[in-house]
Symmetry: C3
Subunit: 115 residues, 3 copies
């Protein structure tokens, strides 16, 4: 079976619940080994990673990360929102530029989805 | 002439008028036989299919369906919003998973647009 | 080094600051000769091109245009919002249909991003 490569782009905080549900449902359909998934958060969306009031949502992200979903944060966005890179959740990986990451991954064959 | 394969992804109700206008204008440019178009509605966007107050918009969708545009609804989203699959408009086709559908169609060569 | 072809789709006015920042940051990463960039504005997003209160944002767009970023406006959208094509900013190019432009450019190899 083909393994899909899929990139989810999240650029505001309101979209996170939709994005996480999208990924959970998608993985139910194709199975954890049926897709390589990366989430790129840029712009204001990086704030959710640091929002303690979103504990349940962050827990769902962490569970997805535990089965292989890669969650990234754009460094430009972290700086713009004065968020400390050292204080990010462990499951989040910082990338130098969110758009650059999206472009590079699409160029490498990832399919793009904006939830 | 090349026949384009285009997938429109609609994930909230507010975007529907824009999406329908997009498709109408696009088809004026390329002609009904110039493109194979599929609309995937997931998340809250599936509610519009059932909204009697949107009769005019639904009529425009139905006219597009009549000339070959495929409108789909994500079953996960229908369940999440407690919408009865049996009561859907005739022109709408239910797909098991909206994101899975988008991924499969992109992998098959469809171009992705988020209106 | 590969030259990326990237299309940014902007369909509402609120997204413009995010889109412009995205492009500025991306070009810092890949350099002006590292990417061919086109911005397609359709729907309500074309209004920003005419909004004198957004002078600073328009100035940033103009600077990007000066280093090769192509900014376009959908003619259908200009008409729908009763905007005079002759009065558009010099750096903006009108395309007959925004979606048709997006489809054609994606078909020609451009990567799609919705900021």
């Amino acid at each position: 079976m083909a393994v899909y490569q899929v990139l989810f782009h999240v650029s505001d905080n309101e979209t996170w619940p939709k994005a996480v549900t999208n990924i959970e449902n998608f993985l139910k359909d194709v199975g954890p080994s049926g897709a390589t998934i990366e989430v790129v958060a840029n712009a204001a969306a990086v704030m959710t990673y640091y929002n303690q009031e979103k504990a349940e949502l962050l827990e769902r992200m962490q569970q997805l990360a535990a089965i292989g979903v890669k969650f990234t944060a754009c460094r430009n966005a972290l700086r713009a929102h004065q968020l400390d890179e050292q204080a990010k959740p462990d499951f989040v990986e910082v990338v130098p530029g969110g758009i650059t990451e999206i472009v590079a991954k699409q160029a490498a064959g990832y399919l793009y989805i904006k939830p």
